[in-house]
């Protein structure tokens, strides 16, 4: 060992708002835009619809409805993030949701299974479908686009077979409540406060420990800004959802956080931890970033591929239950029509790259909200489906362009 060294240090606890802002701008300019376009787009949409339809769009009733409308698509999108991270696609995710919901409904309604068992069977149906996709893609090397395009058609047939001649099947009371009932107002507040407190404490303790060890850490100011921002968003949402939103409150009162929102947030938390805190999650990003490098580093690339398809389809099955719940049962279009396109759109609009290696579960959440606001707002403006489709299609195209352009900038500035 020779020369004394100047050690690597990037702990900067003395940052102020100015330097933080500068760092952030540099990151954006470098092409690392994350969810920013989606958040800005969301703000623009919300403001626009609030001005155009002040009497309906801003109503608490509509806000609660919007969450329940979009719950299924958003959850399918969260599952899709896993295959998109590998640079793969699952075009059958929508019908996977439909088939899984149909299995649960048939078992509940026609065979009188217990609710928990029927739900488990539905979820395992998703897992089995994911295993099927994953094995074909990883073992036979057939592009996922082709594999899932085929099963997209096949599962449509399976769905029709399952629901039988009547064209629809009831999902039972429990499923119906999942995406229509609300929590008591007080419980919504408890969960909201608990989430903010947990975030604040965990990140603060983490930062302090890392700073003590001389590792990279978030400046306290950034921590405070993030925690404050999160608190404002969560408390506003809970407050808004705690307002009486039933048009006939004397007959049936509707207030409180929808159960579906709790399911979405809980699922997003679990999936995010898996992706960002486990070895498996690191391997998913590695395979998505450079498959050959991952292989040479001893990562079992085929196992990672299989696991991501498993995850995608299992999560899609959860989404299917929410879809069935919203429409009161499973019919021939549950998980069909635009479900898949909206879900892929949600993930991509939120900032997940179609090229693999970049994306987060929360992207699907943000993107899903954008898609939901467009659908909901256009619906309130009495626009025909034709225009809704055109607008959503264009928004998806814009999102994909943002992805491609930021990628190019990232390559140029070396931040890919």
């Amino acid at each position: 060992m020779s020369v004394a060294t100047e050690e690597i240090h990037d702990v900067r606890p003395d940052d102020n708002v100015g330097t933080l802002w500068k760092d952030y701008l540099a990151k954006i300019r470098g092409g690392d835009v994350g969810s920013l376009p989606a958040i800005l787009g969301l703000l623009v949409l919300v403001v626009a619809f609030s001005i155009l339809r002040p009497e309906t769009f801003t109503k608490a009733f509509n806000f609660g409805n919007l969450i329940q409308q979009s719950a299924g698509v958003t959850i399918v999108a969260m599952g899709l993030v896993f295959v998109l991270l590998l640079g793969e696609i699952d075009l059958a995710a929508g019908y996977t949701a439909g088939v899984a919901a149909a299995v649960t409904s048939v078992l509940l309604t026609n065979h009188g299974w217990q609710t928990a068992l029927a739900i488990l069977a539905g979820l395992l149906t998703g897992t089995a479908i994911g295993a099927f996709h994953g094995l074909i893609v990883s073992r036979l090397g057939i592009p996922s686009f082709v594999v899932t395009l085929s099963t997209f058609l096949a599962f449509q047939g399976v769905l029709l077979t399952l629901i039988g001649e009547k064209g629809s099947i009831n999902s039972g009371d429990f499923i119906a409540k999942l995406n229509s009932d609300t929590l008591p107002v007080w419980l919504g507040w408890v969960i909201g406060v608990a989430l903010v407190a947990a975030y604040a404490v965990v990140t603060f303790v983490n930062n302090r420990r890392r700073r003590a060890k001389g590792l990279t850490s978030e400046p306290n100011l950034l921590w405070a800004l993030k925690t404050g921002g999160l608190a404002v968003v969560i408390f506003l949402v809970v407050f808004y959802l705690s307002i009486e939103r039933s048009p006939n409150a004397h007959i049936k009162s509707i207030k409180g956080v929808p159960i579906s929102l709790v399911i979405i947030i809980g699922l997003a938390l679990v999936l995010s931890v898996l992706l960002s805190r486990t070895r498996w999650g690191s391997h998913v990003y590695a395979v998505g970033g450079n498959m050959e490098a991952a292989r040479r580093a001893g990562i079992n690339v085929k196992a990672v591929q299989l696991s991501c398809f498993l995850m995608c389809s299992t999560v899609a099955a959860v989404g299917g239950l929410m879809l069935a719940s919203y429409s009161g049962g499973v019919n021939n279009v549950t998980g069909g029509n635009q479900t898949l396109l909206y879900a892929v759109g949600a993930a991509v609009i939120g900032g997940t790259s179609l090229f693999g290696g970049k994306g987060r579960v929360v992207d699907a959440l943000i993107g899903g909200t954008v898609v939901a606001v467009i659908q909901n707002g256009m619906g309130l403006m009495n626009q025909p489906d034709s225009r809704k489709y055109i607008v959503t299609g264009l928004v998806l195209l814009v999102a994909a362009s943002v992805d491609a352009i930021s990628r190019r900038r990232a390559t140029a500035s070396g931040r890919a």
Partner: protein, 252 residues
Amino acid sequence: MSSGEPLLELRGVQKTFGAVHVLRGVDLTVRPGRVTALVGDNGAGKSTLIKGIAGIYPFDEGEYTFEGRAVHVKSPRDANALGIEVVYQDLALCDNLDVVHNMYLGRELTKNGFVDEDAMESRARETLDGLSVRTLKSVRTRVASLSGGQRQTVAIARAVLWNSKLVILDEPTAALGVAQTEQVLKLVRRLADRGLGVVLISHNLNDVFEVADDIAVLYLGQMVAQVEAASTTRDRIVTAITTGELTRGDAA
């Protein structure tokens, strides 16, 4: 040659791909604490030789001795277990991951089932500091935003992170500018100064003479000679590479 016992000794290794006899009885000695440059024209068999050492294409015949013991290296895993790491020309880094995660690619440390970011970050930083790497601002930078020299540094640091004994570098300076080449060569030197055996493949004789202690010349699958860098000249090595003859004494 000094520095005690050889770390790696190959005697009479042979390798055939179908009808092509690529290695025809090659001898190679690598000693700890020394940089052994492996030179030779395209097709001389350099890549096949290191792939044999790394267990990617095991040798057909010949003795393979590591730390004085005869060993059988039949897969990259065998080589890794002995403490042999290869830094490939195309680096094999993941652009979307940061320096820490690249250094631990496929071998992430865990604690209670979760990735132990703290331990990984401090050990990655220690390793880089230990190699006197001063060109990286943060170990949390994504590799995509690094220069060619910095990427090469990360790839080399990854190889030494695992208490490796022999590091094989395939053309580490091929794509680099002057200043970056200088940085990487210094790093190569430091590896040897830490007592590791280093095999450096290079086409650039300037680099070879700057950093190597020993030079091994391959010509059409045969080892022309392995000599100390100090005892020979550039011109003699060029002649050896092109003709397969190493002249002694007063060559131009």
